[in-house]
């Protein structure tokens, strides 16, 4: 099967030594890929490169066969994303915020905007401005923006930030529904291990800017009691290797 996202030798190191080094990953159609790693492991850096917000020092990311660094418009044509905090224009209503984005996609009309607002539970706030929204509401609006264009690939960095339990369940259901009904591929980073376990069908662990392991959730749960145990074991194993090397 052809990968829908191809990450090859991706490297980006910052002055403080943090960043990512030589990351290789293939994400396949239908994957709900969970990107797990402690704070500062390089998750956001990788996702920012994938969405063109920063440039890599080396390597490349191809989405649907198009290079993000060389053919950005084509690569992002069928991609929706939410990176770090869901940003919105505070002087525009929720509806107008989505209308701004809709202009980039010929197939997205006002009906679709209403549809995604309904899907994310934001319909009743469509005429309100985000400056009065809670973090959870902003996050829901960000998710609405990410799925607006019926993308084939959705990249979400900490999508459950600020959401209450009900919100988390709603969003998880929405992800599963989109993956099932519209064959949307998800690339999700989260520090909420339990949620990744419930949401994702493949998981990659990143630590100190390097990918430690990639496996299916099913295989991991066959070998470990919980995803948390697997994560701790992978990180500790890498920690031991690093300390032995020193």
């Amino acid at each position: 099967m052809e990968p829908i996202i191809e990450i090859k030798n991706l490297t980006k190191l910052y002055g403080n030594g943090r960043g990512i080094e030589d990351i290789n990953l293939d994400i396949f159609p239908g994957d709900i890929f969970g990107f797990l790693g402690p704070n500062g492991a390089g998750k956001t850096t990788a996702m920012k490169i994938m969405t063109g917000l920063i440039r890599p020092e080396r390597g490349d990311v191809k989405i649907l066969g198009y290079s993000v660094t060389e053919d950005y418009e084509k690569a992002m044509e069928k991609v929706g994303c939410l990176i770090e905090i869901a940003e919105s224009y505070t002087y525009l209503t929720a509806f107008d915020n989505l209308k701004q984005l809709a202009r980039y996609y010929p197939d997205v009309d006002h009906k679709r905007i209403d549809e995604v607002l309904e899907l994310t539970g934001m319909s009743k706030y469509k005429n309100e401005k985000p400056k009065k929204f809670s973090l959870g509401m902003k996050q829901r609006l960000g998710l609405a923006a990410a799925i607006l264009s019926r993308p084939k690939v959705v990249i979400l960095d900490e999508p459950l930030n600020g959401l209450d339990v009900e919100g988390m369940i709603d969003i998880r259901k929405m992800i599963h529904r989109l993956a099932e009904k519209e064959q949307t591929t998800f690339f999700i980073s989260s520090h909420l291990i339990h949620d990744v376990e419930l949401t994702c069908n493949r998981i990659g662990v990143i630590y100190n800017g390097k990918i430690l392991n990639v496996d299916s959730t099913q295989t991991i749960l066959n070998n470990y009691a919980t995803l948390e145990n697997y994560f701790v074991s992978e990180v500790e194993r890498n920690g031991r290797v690093s300390s032995c090397a020193r």
Partner: protein, 250 residues
């Protein structure tokens, strides 16, 4: 092209909905009212003529191109770039299927449309006020020259906007950009006076280049030279700004 159009419509909508641009236009119009009040005061107080119906728009132009118009252009340009950098809202557009070149060009085109709209509004209102309150001095030739003066004033304002956009991509804070822009503006004005033989090279002197079109002997050579200087500096500023914008990490 459709993607660029979408980006441009978005930028214009943002300008309009933020209301800052609207306030800028209204304040520019207030200059006309203030100017007319001064002229009425001079006329009734000292018995002087002040300005004729078509001299009034030129008087307004000479004041605004050196004061409020550069100021509001700076505010709109800074808001469009530094404002979005600091609020992280630039990411909203950057993560859509549109290249940075198109976003950058759409933003600048929106600023140019703002300047042009302000100039045309100033022209219409100052002409109306001029015709209503002042003695009639209008001839077809003077109407054409007035119209032309307002339109050509757009070019140096574009160069100025491109300079401010470059600074907005160079400095992190919008306030720094604003103060550095004012400082450079004042320094260039002073240099234009001190080194008057080289003044045509300075951006601030070019703001008054519409005067060249009012001279009876139509100095074509001088006009072409000034235009080429503006074109050259405009291209350099656009390219330098684009380079920085393209390299920026968000």
């Amino acid at each position: 092209m459709a993607v660029f159009q979408a980006a441009l419509v978005n930028e214009i909508e943002k300008l309009y909905k933020k209301k800052k641009a609207l306030v800028a236009v209204l304040l520019s119009l207030a200059v006309i009212v203030l100017g007319q009040l001064v002229i009425v005061g001079v006329r009734s107080g000292f018995g002087l003529r002040g300005a004729g119906s078509l001299e009034f728009p030129m008087l307004v132009l000479s004041v605004v191109v050196n004061t409020v118009l550069p100021l509001f252009t700076a505010l709109v340009a800074i808001d469009s770039f530094s404002g979005e950098f600091s609020h992280n809202s630039m990411r909203i557009t950057l993560t859509r299927p549109v290249s940075r070149f198109k976003i950058y060009t759409a933003k600048i085109t929106a600023i140019v449309i703002f300047i042009l709209a302000t100039l045309l509004l100033l022209l219409v209102f100052s002409m109306l006020v001029g015709f209503i309150f002042n003695t009639n001095s209008a001839t077809l030739d003077s109407i054409v020259r007035t119209l032309f003066s307002y339109i050509v004033s757009l070019f140096p304002m574009i160069v100025l906007a491109l300079g401010i956009v470059l600074l907005a991509n160079l400095f992190k804070s919008g306030i720094s950009v604003f103060f550095v822009s004012i400082l450079i503006f004042i320094v260039l004005k002073v240099l234009g006076v001190v080194f008057s033989q080289y003044s045509s090279l300075f951006m601030t002197t070019q703001l008054d280049w519409y005067n060249l079109f009012l001279v009876n002997s139509f100095p074509l050579g001088k006009i072409v030279r000034q235009f080429l200087i503006m074109l050259g500096s405009g291209i350099m500023l656009f390219t330098a700004g684009l380079y920085l914008f393209d390299k920026k990490e968000f």
